[in-house]
């Protein structure tokens, strides 16, 4: 199987999986779910890292890669932490702090 067709299969199956993952979401979780899903979309860090690795001694490319890594990590770290901050506040009646 060529790399392209393999990648297209991965794309297809990943999309189908994503469609199945979110079913009925209780309204309480709408905001945290959006923020959590948003953090995961920062997975682009992987592309940024690969770009830096490819850069060799090309400084412009290194700068672009580092910038991109910074933006992606801002999305990832900020997203996961703020989601955790929200979810940590949800408690049932009688739960202690």
């Amino acid at each position: 199987m060529s790399l392209l067709s393999q990648s297209l299969w991965v794309l297809l199956l990943g999309s189908l999986l994503g469609l199945e993952l979110i079913g009925k979401v209780p309204p309480t979780l709408h905001t945290p779910l959006m923020s959590g899903a948003n953090a995961i979309s920062g997975i682009t860090v992987l592309a940024s890292l690969t770009l830096i690795q490819h850069a060799g001694s090309n400084t412009a490319l290194l700068v672009l890669g580092a910038l991109s890594l910074g933006f992606a990590l801002y999305n990832v770290i900020g997203g996961f932490l703020v989601t955790d901050r929200m979810l940590a506040m949800f408690r049932r009646k009688g739960d202690s702090r």
Binding site: L21, P27, L29, S41, T44, L81
Partner: protein
């Protein structure tokens, strides 16, 4: 690379995908949500570690990786810690825009400096990644600016002209994308970057602030697509699968948001701002429309509460702006100690994005079982003694049910007019988000308590305490 190393990094990638999927799934259940968020974070960490093991960066690369990570990570940490819960919608928009920017930068970098041995698949992927990344970035930033109140909806964006402008921009992007493989680092790239950025602004700007959650959710899906496209650019299967997963899940989430807000995606994207024209006519807090307003003091309101058996609070964004959630929680506790049955009616769009009010009340330690969804609470209003509306307006407007000429007609609302007594706590008679008068305010069972939500709630607390509420139980 040795065979065993390949298997090792492959196994890490697989584990990362599995954990990511479990994480997304777990995020949609209250009990598992926090753990699931952690799981997804671990998955992300695994994916990064697996990639670093695979590519073995040289010392120079490490230096730049450290610099980028430190800057982005620290900024993320500070933002996540500092941002107030009321600002959650714009924060998600900002984070999302940065994710789009990252994909855009990767694609531009490869196009400019690394396209020598790129095949047609990589070149097409670059075009897609630039296009989606730039739209995600500029669209999210516009969404953030509108939610922050830095940007209004300009009048000209409500004319049909905007469709012409956006279609022209889309055509420009398409032409640039088609030309890009022939000259990866040249003019077509910059045309595509500029065209997509403007297109992102052009499609987001006409959409009203109230519809922004749907836009953010859709843009979040786009950033998944941008990540998957970046995966094709750099040849990472893990990135493709994760990006596709987030992109598809984001589409479902967008659908969920639309359903929660009772809007269709098409009307959000192409219908212009809801009530923008009505707002222009009746805006500016005009009080001319009301004739039969009854207002009352905190004392009268407290007496009604003291005698009630069942009280429902209807919190709106105004409550959060006044930072009155904690006072509300205290009042609810006092009433509960007095034997009153207390619950909170949460409209799907209470706050500024679906689920936002739940977060804001959770911050004030309100147990989430007391937050009742609209479908559950509406049948309960006829047997409710006192309803207190705090900083909510359009979502309790009975005209949405019984006035076909109202711009709100058809929107599901909380039927508080069914309750025996309604108190509306409000600073003035200014119009709500949709810019129209509220028939509830003039109904015979309604009384307005004018003032800042926090001040009124604190007033109610001291009135109730002076009536001896709460003390009796302690003595007994």
């Amino acid at each position: 690379m040795t065979f065993s190393m390949d298997v090792f990094t492959g196994a890490i990638d697989l584990a990362a995908v599995l954990l990511l999927a479990l994480g997304i799934k777990g995020l949609s259940k209250v009990r598992s949500a926090r753990g699931a968020n952690g799981l997804a974070a671990v998955a992300m960490g695994l994916a990064v570690v697996g990639l670093l093991i695979e590519i073995r960066p040289d010392p120079i690369a490490w230096l730049w990786i450290a610099a980028g990570s430190a800057a982005g990570g620290l900024a993320g940490l500070v933002t996540a810690r500092r941002v107030p819960m009321t600002a959650m919608p714009e924060t998600v928009a900002l984070f999302n825009g940065c994710g789009g920017m990252a994909s855009l930068l990767v694609a531009v970098g490869v196009a400019l400096f690394d396209a020598g041995d790129a095949d047609i698949v990589a070149l097409v992927s670059i075009a897609v990644s630039v296009f989606v990344g730039a739209i995600t970035f500029s669209g999210s930033i516009v969404a953030m600016a509108k939610l922050q109140g830095w940007l209004d909806t300009p009048g000209w964006t409500q004319s049909r002209l905007r469709h012409g402008v956006n279609i022209s921009l889309a055509v420009l992007c398409l032409v640039a994308a088609l030309l890009l493989p022939g000259d990866p680092g040249g003019l077509p790239l910059w045309l595509l970057v500029g065209g997509s950025t403007l297109l992102g602004i052009g499609v987001t700007l006409p959409i009203g602030g109230a519809d922004m959650p749907v836009v953010i959710s859709l843009l979040n899906s786009y950033s998944g697509v941008a990540a998957a496209a970046a995966g094709f650019v750099v040849g990472s299967q893990l990135l493709i699968v994760a990006g596709a997963m987030v992109g598809a899940a984001g589409l479902i989430l967008t659908q969920v948001m639309c359903t929660a807000m009772n809007r269709s995606l098409v009307s959000v994207l192409f219908g212009g701002a809801l009530g923008a024209s009505a707002g222009a006519v009746g805006g500016g807090g005009s009080e001319a429309g009301y004739t039969r307003i009854t207002s009352c003091s905190a004392e009268e309101c407290a007496m009604a509460l003291e005698q009630a058996e069942r009280v429902v609070f209807v919190p709106g964004y105004g409550l959060a702006v006044a930072q009155a959630q904690h006072s509300l929680r205290e009042l609810a506790k006092l009433l509960e100690a007095h034997g009153v049955e207390v619950s909170y009616a949460i409209h799907p769009v209470a706050g500024r994005m679906p689920g936002h009010m739940n977060v804001l009340l959770a911050e004030a330690d309100v147990p989430y079982e007391q937050l009742l969804e609209m479908d559950l609470v509406n049948p309960e209003f006829p047997r409710t003694d006192v309803v207190i509306v705090l900083g909510a307006n359009d979502v309790v407007n009975p005209q949405a049910k019984n006035d076909p000429t109202s711009p709100l007609y058809g929107m599901p609302v909380l039927e508080v007019d069914q309750a025996r007594q309604v108190f509306v706590v409000k600073r003035s008679l200014g119009a709500g988000y949709a810019g129209i008068n509220n028939a509830l305010f003039e109904m015979p069972q309604t009384a307005m308590v004018f003032g800042d939500a926090k001040a009124v709630l604190n007033g109610l607390l001291s009135e109730l305490r002076s009536l001896g509420v709460g003390k009796a139980k302690v003595a007994a």
